[in-house]
Subunit: 356 residues, 2 copies
Amino acid sequence: MTVTLADVAARARVSPATVSRVLNGNYPVAASTRERVLQAVDELDYVLNGPASSLAAATSDLVGILVNDIADPFFGIVAGAAQTEIGRYEGTGRARGEKLAVVCNTGGSPRRELNYLTLLQRQRAAAVVLTGGAVEDPDHIATMSAKLSKLAAAGTRVVLCGRPPLPAGDAIVATIAFDNRGGGRRLTEHLIALGHRRIGYIAGPAERTTTRHRLEGHRAAMAAAGPGGDAGQERLTVHGPYDRRSGYEATLELLRRDPGLTAIAAANDTVALGACAALRDQGLRIPADVSVAGFDDLPFSLDAVPSLTTVRLPLFEAGARAGRLAMGNEAPPPGGFATIPAELMSRESTAPPRVH
Amino acid sequence: MTVTLADVAARARVSPATVSRVLNGNYPVAASTRERVLQAVDELDYVLNGPASSLAAATSDLVGILVNDIADPFFGIVAGAAQTEIGRYEGTGRARGEKLAVVCNTGGSPRRELNYLTLLQRQRAAAVVLTGGAVEDPDHIATMSAKLSKLAAAGTRVVLCGRPPLPAGDAIVATIAFDNRGGGRRLTEHLIALGHRRIGYIAGPAERTTTRHRLEGHRAAMAAAGPGGDAGQERLTVHGPYDRRSGYEATLELLRRDPGLTAIAAANDTVALGACAALRDQGLRIPADVSVAGFDDLPFSLDAVPSLTTVRLPLFEAGARAGRLAMGNEAPPPGGFATIPAELMSRESTAPPRVH
DNA sequence: CTGTTAGCGCATTCAT
DNA sequence: ATGAATGCGCTAACAG
């Protein structure tokens, strides 16, 4: 029925082992022999049996990239960059590092995250890259650490990208974290420098690391602004998912709580866009009446009207680096941990507050 | 080192065969025995060896979803919906349809597309979903058809979503196509009804099916608008990739070719946003000076300023349906082919042309 | 450089 | 309902 390596061997008049060797390219084979084998492969239209190969070699060429939301460009950019870096060696011969880089959408659900890890563990994945903020529930962290340790023990390279380090640090090849706290802080400092004091904050889901760090940066800046700077901050913070609708509704809520606020900082650019829509619908001008700021600097932020002040995260570079680390093509940073800086991008959506 | 099924069997004092049976749940096993086995699995923290299982069973639980650009929300929405539908049965027992739905980013490159198909073929994937427009090169179509036929012959279910049918129709479970032509036509008819005659068109990459169909719809509407309606259409069409930068540059080019054009129709929403940016930078108002229309109705189109007139494609529904078809959880449409309608969404970015 | 020999871990006959 | 035996297709020692 289906063509096997033995068939190829017979056609090329060599042993199965030899065929395996030319296919894997990890062993010297005479050029003439290789030619014959390759020709037989072509003629028979042979395709290697992955499971059999993985079973015998006790490793597979599958690499999993876990993302929280595949429809969010944040993850698309990171995952795309990682995938490109991982699949980079596709052309080189028939094998030589032909990885199957694959993205798994967890929807931000701890259960699905774990589920995917188990599935990848089943497949004896060569590597796993976890991207984006993590859920902070202690149970989940413990479970994840245990699971990742097991994966690592089985030979899977684990890389974290855009997510803080885990207790199971030694099992993890490298952790690439974003400076969410610093970015959040600089963003709010920018607003304060413009003269804003009544600043609403639209945070992400409460239990996420990314959410917490960005919020902490914001609060730190407020506190530093002087006595009372952080007073009532609780009241001016609203949590919600990382989507535009959340930004829209949170803005209405913030306006209800303090009709006199002069600026809104959002958990990310998408949320900020929702905030802009809500403000416009309320007849408020941006930035004349209310300034708005986002986070991430996704491509559309530049095209927004007005263009969005935000914090730039080098998503592509980080994703690519994670990909290389997963492949073992780049030395891990000292201590296996690196923080990627976040840069303030001051644009048109922020300005000094209106004077009464 | 690693725990195998035999270890579980020993601990549960049963044969390996029995363990296999309870794990796969496709064979009667006494409740008490099952209990013991499950407990042993837990205690030993056993994880099935996917490759071994796939080798023995000659099938795997891997499902591939191919997309042209993972950073484009169009694909994120389709793939996310499909993935959710495919992973739906995760909780049900330990096996029973636990698929590993996985998205592969081809970057729109025929070579990478083929490469991923080969990799999935290696893995003996249970199903493959191909999404988005295809490259129209005859060679590539032939190669793809052959490849997909081979996949189908090996038991892989092939589903096309948002892409026209292929010659190898009988090998394909189902094709879900969007009415790109009809949508393109209705969009331009809308512009014509508003009074526009000098309409620039920013098309996608020349060799893509999606590009061609949308363009054909546009041209058909222009031709129907009356004699000379399609005159000079070539001159007012610019091709480019499906990204904002392309929209920006194409708009400048169109303006150069005809400074008096009153409307621009773009290949998709992202391109349309780039067009808006270019128009603004040229000091032109939307829609007072120039109307702009997109395609797809991605979430951000509603938030754009002005909100974008576009053509709505039910991406989520289509992706979910493709997922169900891939799993065999939905009967294929008659003839294995269905066209999904495209609906005009008339919003603020289009208006009658200014009067001279 | 190439052939021979053993498994890899599991699903599946076939018995019982 | 359960156990024993066989082989899936390939890679990895070993020889030579």
